[in-house]
């Protein structure tokens, strides 16, 4: 081969290699980063979350203006088993840029392992404090670092009812637990079934029951004990916890009180469990569920008018001093990869504009107090939003705050208890043993 040709080829090869190396080098990435911090104009942000169906449509609708404006593609991946999927991805060193976190307990684990980005470097904290009350920001803070923000929230423990059925039976809305009990007994005496409960939820079956117990516990023993309970400082075999289980047991283990008996309770998906209230001849009168059940009801019964054909009242107070307590839950979002695209998107997620998509699209509530009530689609979600704003005591879903194993065993304990209530003693003993190991 001619000498010059050989030199040319050598240079060409070296050039190609250099280009590749440059494309892979951190030097190159840093440059994009610095430029992108101001205004990323391309690229992708990957999002892992639990939203499906209608919620996913709303999410996409919400993401579209962002995609158009910034030119960043939002690549969404959905799962129902967020805990396992996210843990695997993080362990494998391949986390999504942004993900819904399985709960505050898990969030703390990720944060302490250094997997989550400190969001105070991302947000303008002045504005965040203006948008979110301290309580919400605290729930996303671990060891003084903000690592999670709420994409949307819900009130738990609302009692849903069918106003027409209530009128037909001549029932007033009960104002406290005693009235609730009296109304239920009256319905039973007339041969009606007061409650409809469904616990099935795939890999998370039983969580509806934990909501029941949490709402009862909060109103029986107050926020202080509630905190001790989820922090693992209160024994499951304590009289407080036992009292709560037995209070719920009056309803759920009594075949006269609950539609379809235990087989229905155990096997019915939570999303279907409100249906008996709205059949042509109602088969049940009350259904305890979070504010998000509204979108399920609307999907199954598109003709029902919120406020007229279905409505809710707050969980009946038990101890008067805890009357104004509310349990809330929500989708905490965290950031695992510090890319300009992820920064831009998580900033967008928390703005009132993005949040109003959730509220008007799904009836979900926003933790951002600058989302105007105008953006709540109907009287019901406006009422729920108001309850949230007015509550003196707001606590987060206790089971979500417990360690993974405690939460999981709590769920399956709910199923075992409904299946065989006489085993309550041994169920509580097992939970107590889990508590000793899990914290």
């Amino acid at each position: 081969m001619h000498r010059r040709t050989r030199i040319t080829i050598a240079f060409a090869v070296a050039g190609v290699i250099l280009i590749f190396l440059f494309a892979l080098s951190p030097l190159n990435r840093k440059k994009v980063h610095a430029a992108g911090e101001r205004e990323p104009v391309e690229g992708t942000v990957s999002v892992l979350a639990v939203w499906g169906g209608h919620e996913l449509d709303v999410f996409k609708e919400m993401a579209r203006p962002f995609e158009v404006e910034k030119g960043i593609r939002v690549s969404y991946e959905g799962t129902r088993d967020i805990n396992a999927v996210l843990t695997t991805r993080v362990q494998a060193g391949n986390p999504p840029d942004i993900a819904v976190l399985p709960g505050p307990g898990k969030m703390a684990e990720f944060a302490r392992a250094g997997d989550l980005v400190d969001l105070s470097t991302v947000f303008d904290m002045e504005r965040m404090r203006a948008d979110y009350t301290e309580g919400w920001l605290n729930m996303g803070t671990v060891d003084g670092k903000l690592v999670g923000v709420f994409a949307k929230v819900a009130i738990k423990g609302l009692i849903w009812y069918n106003p027409h059925a209530m009128d037909a039976e001549g029932i007033e809305i009960p104002k406290n637990a005693d009235e609730m009990r009296a109304v239920s007994t009256r319905l039973v005496r007339r041969g009606k079934t007061p409650w409809s409960i469904g616990l099935e939820s795939g890999a998370a079956s039983g969580w509806v029951g934990t909501d029941w117990l949490e709402n009862i516990f909060l109103r029986q023993h107050g926020p202080q004990k509630y905190r001790e309970w989820y922090e693992g400082k209160l024994a499951w075999t304590s009289p407080e916890v036992r009292e709560t289980w037995e209070t719920w047991g009056e309803i759920v283990t009594n075949p006269n009180m609950v539609y379809g008996g235990k087989q229905y309770v155990l096997s019915t998906n939570f999303g279907q469990a409100a249906a008996p209230l709205f059949m042509d001849s109602p088969r049940a009168y009350f259904h305890m569920q979070a504010s998000f059940i509204q979108s399920f009801i609307k999907e199954q019964f598109p003709n029902l008018q919120p406020g007229e054909d279905f409505n809710f009242f707050g969980f009946p107070p038990i101890e008067p001093r805890y009357a104004n307590a509310v349990e809330a839950a929500g989708d905490l979002v965290g950031m695992f990869n510090d890319t300009p695209q992820a920064r831009a998107f998580i900033r967008y997620l928390t703005t009132p504009e993005a949040q109003s998509y959730w509220t008007s699209g799904t009836g979900a509530l926003s933790a951002n107090r600058n989302v105007s009530l105008v953006f709540y689609p109907d009287v019901l979600s406006r009422n729920a939003a108001q309850i949230l704003q007015k509550a003196d005591i707001v606590v987060f879903d206790a089971s979500d705050m417990m360690p993974g194993k405690m939460n999981n065993d709590f769920w399956s304990a709910i199923m075992s208890y409904v299946q065989n209530p006489s085993r309550l003693d041994s169920i509580l003993r097992d939970l107590e043993r889990t508590r000793r190991e899990a914290y």
Partner: protein, 326 residues
């Protein structure tokens, strides 16, 4: 991102074969310089070396690592001896897990092989054999997860007096009006059986196809000779067909055992182990990904391995024998 993964993919697809070819080329060049007897001894080892290396990295190392982890605590920071194993054999929940795997092992394997064999023998004698076999084999084409979802619909429960939308309850309440609808997956007396049925539904086709092929291989002359001597259908089956296809039955059985010990998808999708339906693999998954207890998850993995290895060795030995026979 996309550019980088594309480069990586191209590099892997072309780079690995190219690298291996280069390795062999160099090995041959090097070996050629040695004396012949040394060449003969050393060459096979050099040829299998890349394979052994890959096997060690992707199989041997994980196995050893899992074994080590199983003696450590949940976040693998402290040695705790055989505690994880002790818990597996003493904890009430864990004993239920073991019991369920035993149930699966015995009844799933027994019923699948028996029914598969029965169908193979019966379809052998009819004209619409192909269609019948295709129908039975069809579930094999469905993923376990999809099968789980389908059967969840089949087992759906509605209270008495409401139209039953689950196939099983609908059929039973129609045939026997006094029948009380059952929540099949939520009744501790039935739920394990309801799950095992799904497994049988999927795997019977597999057993049938292999056994059927083996039955076709039974020499016609022997069967005809037996008939000439006055043997009935049952005698032909038990004295001729069965002994001849016995090795195949063993292979099918061991394959099924290996699969059933690892059963996961059906349980995960349909009950996720609630109300005493947990099995080892599902529990392992939970310990690992939900509870972050790496020690216990590893101990369960080792337990599965220990249970499966003897069956696998038996299977390999069978295959080896058949190789020699031919």
């Amino acid at each position: 991102m996309i550019l980088r993964s594309t480069i990586l993919a191209v590099a892997a697809v072309f780079g690995v074969p190219a690298g291996l070819t280069l390795y062999i080329f160099l090995v041959e060049k090097g070996v050629a310089r040695l004396r012949f007897p040394v060449q003969k001894r050393i060459r096979p080892w050099l040829w299998v070396a890349p394979g052994l290396a890959i096997l060690s990295v992707f199989l041997l190392y994980p196995v050893i690592n899992t074994l080590v982890l199983s003696f450590l605590n949940s976040d693998s920071t402290r040695f705790i001896g055989p505690q994880n194993y002790l818990r597996i054999f003493t904890d009430r929940d864990m004993l239920i897990v073991l019991r369920n795997n035993a149930l699966w092992l015995v009844f799933f394997t027994l019923v699948t092989v028996t029914v598969g064999l029965l169908i193979a023998v019966l379809t052998d004698k009819v004209r619409y054999e192909q269609a019948a076999k295709a129908l039975i084999f069809l579930p094999m084409a469905i993923s376990f997860v999809a099968a789980g979802v389908i059967w969840k619909f089949m087992y759906e429960f509605k209270p008495k007096g409401v139209p039953q939308i689950g196939t099983l309850n609908a059929v039973l309440t129609t045939l026997f009006p006094s029948f009380e609808p059952q929540a099949w997956l939520f009744n501790p007396g039935i739920n394990n059986w309801a799950l095992i049925v799904v497994g049988i539904w999927i795997w019977t086709g597999f057993a049938m196809v292999i056994l059927s092929a083996s039955i076709k291989g039974v020499p016609k002359e022997i069967v005809e000779a037996a008939r000439m001597d006055g043997a009935g259908e049952f005698q032909v089956f038990f004295r001729i067909t069965l002994p001849i296809i016995k090795p195949t039955i063993m292979v099918v059985t061991t394959t099924l055992i290996i699969n059933v010990l690892k059963i996961f998808d059906i349980v995960y999708v349909m009950t996720n182990g609630i109300l005493d339906t947990e099995v080892i693999a599902n529990r392992m998954y939970k310990e690992m990904f939900n509870f972050m207890n790496f020690g216990m998850a590893s101990a369960l993995a080792v337990l599965l391995l220990v249970a499966i290895v003897p069956v696998m060795l038996m299977n390999i030995k069978r295959f080896g024998q058949r190789g020699e026979e031919q």
